[in-house]
Amino acid sequence: MAETHSLQDLQQPAVSSKVFIQRDYSSGTICKFQTKFPSDLESRLDKQQFEETIQTLNNLYAEAEKLGGKSYLEGCLACLTAYTIFLCMETHYEKVLKKIARYIKDQNEKIYAPRGLLLTDPVERGLRVVEITIFEDRSIGSGR
């Protein structure tokens, strides 16, 4: 058993802790996350980069939930077809969610993974939190 555990440790860095960025309800019930920089990330990440990521996510969610001509048109058209159109067509929100998933993957590859962090897509947490997993810093800890 001990053998398999050390093998596992070599394959995967251990999770040191997790930070949860909460929702910001100041603008109502729209999906928006707080841009306050958590203290646990201070050693790993620039405040500006973090804020940029969260702000872009907020903008994407705002685009998904925007009440405008396009969403009204989609809603009325869908109603006329008794919403059967959603069985074959993707909703605007779903399209933006895919865009968000691509953005998060991109951010993880470019910025977060090199710093031993992992952004979890909020949709996997019910759009409640942005979970940032902090992995143990292997480069420093190898001597332990």
Partner: protein
């Protein structure tokens, strides 16, 4: 121990906590009690069948063939809306995973500071400012989250639902953010259908009575009597309900908020979600974006060591990161302590209703979670009800 590997893929809906029933491999989601929903279906389909059988042949000949056509279109729309309301996810908020629950607990403890022994800790409330009004977010002890504004916990389905309106037994589901517009369109179209059938029943009886007399008409079309009865009683309830929901939509309120009187009264705050414009409120509720489900019912479960103990392969072969609260030693040899699901050879174990996997053995890291009994606010509320 048998070497049979059970590699049946488990979808996430099978492990979801809460008291919902799922059909069609997770595509359909309903409440547990469906009796009243079957009654609704029976009444609608039954009444419409009688209408098509008894009234339509006569009316299409003597008045217009458009009458049954329009009735059919309306009937199909009603059924589509009913099934859409009943079968879709109302906007269930998934429960917090252990790490998130711990994080929130620690935040609460930090905010409360030191509570002297013997005293109850203060109620778990977060204040947020929305549109210059202070809204209180309550903590849900079941889901271990601070509920977003307008969300509420449904005790029948045992889920927190976003923009919770009410639990409707007639549709066999909660009505929440995702299916409210379908529910409203269902009540609206059902009102129209009921009025339509009622009107044409009367027209039909009058027209036929002119020819053959009232009693003969009733003998020839006994279905009419039943239809008129059903429609008469349905009219009052459904039309009233449609009117009530139209009023709620114009004010951008939910039934839950209306019942609790959240935005009414002098000392209460005004509704911060209303645009103060009836048309804008209606547009937002009825024509707003269609929110996707965050439950991911049909996603495949990632194997964790407890579940994969049903396979003969050792747990360490799974390449997924092991959540910290899961046991790190997977029991390969079943003994009296092995949970039933882990015993190999019980092929049907994965198909049984699972006991909630989230209730994992208490980990020493999680601080003792407060319960409603230790919370000041809920105990005061309990005292009030006595």
């Amino acid at each position: 121990m048998s070497a049979v590997m059970i590699t049946r893929k488990v979808r996430k809906w099978e492990k979801l906590p809460g008291k919902n029933t799922f059909c069609c491999d997770g595509r359909v989601m309903m409440a547990r009690q469906k009796g009243v929903f079957y009654l609704t279906l029976f009444l609608i389909i039954g009444t419409c069948s009688l209408f098509f059988a008894f009234e339509c042949p006569y009316l299409s000949l003597h008045l217009s063939p458009a009458i049954p056509v329009f009735a059919a279109v309306l009937f199909l729309f009603v059924m589509a809306m009913l099934l859409r309301t009943s079968f879709s996810d109302p906007g269930v908020l998934p429960r917090a995973l252990p790490e998130e629950a711990t994080f929130i607990e620690m935040e609460i403890e930090a905010a409360n500071g030191n509570v002297p022994a013997g005293q109850r800790p203060p109620p778990r409330i977060r204040n947020v400012q929305i549109n210059n009004q202070i809204v209180k977010l309550k903590y849900c002890y079941t889901c271990k989250i601070f509920r977003p504004p307008r969300a509420s916990h449904c005790s029948i389905c045992d889920n927190c639902v976003d923009r919770f309106d009410h639990h409707c037994p007639w549709v066999g589901n909660c009505v929440g953010k995702r299916n409210y517009r379908y529910f409203y369109l269902f009540t609206l179209s059902l009102s129209l259908l009921t009025i339509y059938i009622f009107t044409f029943d009367i027209v039909h009886v009058v027209m036929r009575s002119v020819d053959k007399g009232f009693l003969n008409t009733l003998k020839e079309t006994p279905g009419t009597v039943l239809e008129v009865l059903v429609c008469f009683f349905t009219l009052w309830s459904v039309v009233g309900l449609t009117g009530f929901h139209t009023y709620l939509i114009s004010l951008n309120q939910t039934t839950n908020e209306d019942i609790k009187g959240s935005w009414s009264g002098k000392n209460r705050i005004q509704n911060p979600y209303s645009h103060n414009n009836i048309i804008k409120n209606c547009c937002e509720v009825l024509c707003g974006p269609a929110y996707p489900s965050v439950l991911d019912r049909r996603g495949l479960m990632q194997e964790d060591p407890l579940v994969s103990a049903t396979c003969a392969a050792p747990a360490s072969s799974s390449s997924n990161p092991v959540p910290q609260t899961t046991k790190t030693t997977a029991p390969l040899i079943p003994n009296e302590h092995t949970p039933d699901e882990a015993k190999p050879g019980i092929a049907a174990s994965a198909e049984k209703t699972p006991s909630p996997k989230e209730e994992q053995p208490p980990d020493t890291k999680i601080p003792p979670l407060a319960t409603p009994e230790t919370d000041a606010e809920t105990s005061i509320a309990k005292d009030k009800t006595h």
